[in-house]
């Protein structure tokens, strides 16, 4: 009896301790270089600061929809070139200064300036002028209508920063979000505390810590020992089954914006022949790659577009797995005995593991690959800027990036005037129905041109403590939005 009493008392204490838990520790693999989302491409920065610390005029919701952010509402002129944003009033930066229209002007002017180091400067290319009409109204003039403008302003690279704090933004970010930056123990962790004077719905958590663990084995141990409450984008898919079987944890599997492709150097012989590119695409068994390299997590794609997007067209049928037909195509193109090419693999496991499988699949149709494993910096130099590759595997994680196919100098060097015109038309189109139609056409063109081998949409798998709710399942952008995270009892 005594023991029952004791254990129920213990249980009581335990549950009340759970209910009282107001902090969370999230494990992440990559530590950000610094904390300024407006001057680096690192997704690791957005993971910490997006929506938590910094906010933009608009923002992405958990399903990828564009929602109002610091701008409460907006009016778009008839011709689509003038956007008038009505800002929330009473918004304060974390340093106590108030947020006003002039901060928007400052942020956008800084991003598009001559010496700007914004990694996504193209987002701001169409802006002609930004003016503060009054404290809560901003008038933005574009040089031409831009169908995607509100979407562009939701990116982490377009957040609003405070001029007073810009000097030290990289180590002490000051934003308007629901959390304030607290401490960065470099190499170890970054902690945030709740912003009690937040203008919107306040966060439930009082504090949050991002803990950086790069080793997959260490990530497993930290999760198992419950040193971390969640591991976002868990790096060792081979352990996921074990976590699924453990009642302490939930495994979240969602979509990302990462189209994982076998990129083909379109200007390099023999890949300048569409029949060869088609043969490569048909030699690939996507499901085998998803199963073998990603332990079953991932959605096959047939074009460069995210399957969860309403405008997605399933074009996987354009390149069904058919080694015999692929061989015939190669013979028709003049390579009956196949050829040898290079396959350059950056560090992520989708590339390294996937690369081995693809090499074996290509060997079946007579294409021999020389595999080289590169670090990112090397890959950028050799493959991306130097065009020194035959094949390579990359996941393109930027949202809505089909426009890269309209840039002939982009590393896979696809040059199709019709496609470029289409993307240009899309850029100035505001009508949703026409936009959808154009997007569908764009997907079809690149799929039928077999520009790249389209493999799969990268899944986001996270391991989360079963009592933790509100973590984004999908990743419309690389963010770990903690504003709605809480502990259930």
């Amino acid at each position: 009896m005594k023991s029952i009493l004791l254990s129920s008392a213990a249980l009581l204490i335990a549950t009340s301790a759970y209910a009282a838990k107001t902090d969370v520790t999230i494990g992440l693999q990559l530590e950000p270089p610094h904390l300024d989302p407006t001057s680096a491409a690192a997704g690791a920065i957005d993971q910490v600061v997006y929506s938590n610390i910094f906010e933009g005029l608009t923002r992405f919701g958990s399903d990828g929809a564009v929602l109002p952010g610091l701008a409460e509402s907006w009016d778009i002129s008839e011709d689509g070139t003038v956007y008038t944003f009505n800002l929330h009033s009473g918004v304060m930066f974390h340093d106590g200064t108030s947020f006003e229209a002039s901060d928007v002007v400052f942020s956008l002017d800084r991003a598009r300036a001559e010496d700007s180091t914004n990694a996504q400067k193209a987002l701001f290319a169409g802006i002609e002028s930004v003016e503060a009409v009054d404290a809560t109204t901003v008038k933005l003039t574009l040089s031409a209508p831009q169908g995607n403008f509100l979407f562009n302003m939701a990116w982490g690279d377009a957040v609003i920063v405070a001029p007073e704090s810009i000097e030290d933004i990289k180590n002490n970010p000051v934003g308007t979000g629901a959390f304030k930056f607290s401490e960065w123990r470099q190499g170890d962790s970054i902690s945030l505390v709740r912003n009690d004077s937040y203008w919107g719905t306040p966060a439930v958590l009082e504090s949050a810590t991002f803990k950086y663990i790069s080793e997959p084995t260490a990530a497993f141990a930290a999760m198992m020992a419950e040193d971390v409450d969640a591991f976002y984008s868990y790096p060792a898919p081979e352990n996921l089954a074990q976590f699924e079987a453990d009642p302490r944890f939930t495994v979240l599997s969602g979509n990302t914006e990462g189209e994982t492709i076998l990129a083909i150097n379109n200007k390099l012989e023999p890949f300048d022949d569409v029949r060869v590119r088609r043969a490569v695409s048909m030699a690939i068994d996507r499901q085998a790659i998803i199963d073998g390299a990603m332990f079953g997590y991932g959605t096959p794609i047939g074009t460069h577009f995210a399957p969860h997007n309403p405008d997605y067209v399933d074009l996987t049928g354009n390149a069904p797995f058919d080694p015999e037909a692929a061989k015939a195509l190669l013979a028709e193109a003049g390579y009956p005995d196949g050829f040898t090419t290079t396959l350059k693999l950056p560090p992520p496991s989708y590339a390294r593991r996937g690369g081995e499988i693809i090499a074996a699949q290509l060997r079946e149709i007579g294409i021999e690959t020389e595999i080289s494993n590169l670090e990112w910096a090397q890959w950028l130099e050799q493959a991306f800027r130097g065009y020194d590759f035959g094949l390579t595997i990359v996941s393109h994680t930027e949202p809505m990036d089909i426009g890269i196919y309209a840039r002939p100098e982009y590393y896979f060097q696809y040059d199709n005037a019709a496609f470029q015109d289409l993307i240009e038309a899309l850029g100035v189109e505001n009508d949703p129905a026409t936009r959808s139609e154009l997007l569908r056409q764009a997907q079809t063109i690149i799929s039928e041109d077999y520009v790249n081998g389209y493999l799969f949409q990268l899944a986001l798998t996270s391991v989360v403590n079963a009592r933790l709710t509100g973590i984004w399942e999908d990743a419309p952008t690389q963010a770990v939005d903690l504003t709605a995270v809480s502990w259930s009892e």
Partner: protein, 315 residues
């Protein structure tokens, strides 16, 4: 003694100059540009150029080398390309983990290896000796990261006595900080202690078979007196050499263990900096480690002269 020390100091300076040249040259020829790495695959060429100018990467190699060495002489290690904070601050933070960890592991190593090695040598051929030799063989052979993972599974996941890793910082208190370093220190110390115990044993056995040992015994000293008074001191030279090497290894080479226990140490800093092409950090940290190793060897050399008077005279 003075000339001996001066000579050693001279070679120390020369080594440092050569090292700085080699390090700078090696690291600068590594392919990959930090600015492009940071801005990713959507960046426009003019943006990358703007960042290169901001980081000073547009200067010539000679300019950058001189700037770097000049800074080092003045105690300045430059500013990290990625973190944008002074390298010396970053290194200071990391040393707060790496230095205590290395000292902790070295202490464990010495505390275990000395008695074990002496015991095995004193009882040569006995069961104790054979056990020690077998166990240390195993200790040398077991990869320390694997041993570390086993310890994590046992002590962190199953028994929950320790965290799986991480470092709470010294401001959390001495005890939590030392506790966080305990498993890593044991993992680091295991192979080092095995090596040192074996070196201790064989060095002692060598000295014990010297003629002067027999003389000492003939003079009437007991085995124990001979061992402690004469053999041990003479056997220390190879042992000191190994300890010196081990300390520099522990300081710089703990990278795998730091990754297993996700400790924010120097090894992990260098590893991260290399992948991010934060060359200034790599150069400065490597230079600092070279400096530490060279300085350590200098002290070991001095210690030789202290335990072996002949070295003082000969030079």
């Amino acid at each position: 003694m003075l000339t001996y020390v001066t000579k050693r100091l001279g070679s120390l300076c020369l080594s440092l100059i050569v090292a700085s040249l080699v390090i700078f040259a090696c690291i600068e020829i590594v392919p990959g540009d930090s600015a492009s790495f940071m801005l990713g695959i959507n960046a426009q060429p003019d943006t990358i150029q703007a960042l290169r100018v901001e980081l000073g990467l547009d200067q010539s190699l000679v300019q950058r080398y001189l700037g770097w060495v000049g800074g080092l002489l003045g105690g300045e290690m430059g500013t990290s390309y990625t973190y944008r904070t002074p390298v010396s601050d970053i290194v200071k933070d990391r040393l707060q983990v790496s230095l205590p960890l290395a000292l902790y592991a070295l202490t464990l190593t010495v505390v275990v290896a000395f008695p074990v090695g002496i015991l095995a040598a004193a009882r040569r051929g006995s069961v104790t000796d054979i056990t020690v030799m077998g166990a240390t063989q195993l200790g040398v052979a077991i990869p320390n990261f694997w041993f570390a993972i086993l310890m994590v599974i046992l002590f962190a996941i199953n028994l929950r006595w320790f965290s799986a890793g991480g470092f709470p910082g010294w401001d959390a208190g001495i005890f939590p900080a030392m506790k966080a370093l305990t498993l890593p220190a044991i993992a680091l110390a295991l192979p080092q202690a095995s090596i040192l115990a074996r070196v201790m044993r064989s060095s002692l056995l060598d000295t014990l078979s010297e003629d002067y040992m027999r003389t000492a015994r003939a003079k009437g000293l007991t085995r124990r007196q001979v061992l402690w008074r004469h053999a041990l001191r003479n056997a220390m030279i190879p042992v000191l050499t190994i300890i010196g090497l081990q300390f520099s290894f522990l300081l710089a080479g703990a990278i795998i263990i730091e990754n297993v226990f996700f400790l924010p140490g120097l090894g992990r800093l260098v590893f991260q900096a290399i992948t991010q092409r934060d060359l200034i950090v790599v150069e400065s940290v490597v230079m600092l480690l070279v400096f530490a190793v060279i300085l350590l060897n200098f002290f070991v050399d001095i210690a030789y002269a202290w335990v072996d008077p002949r070295l003082r005279v000969r030079s």
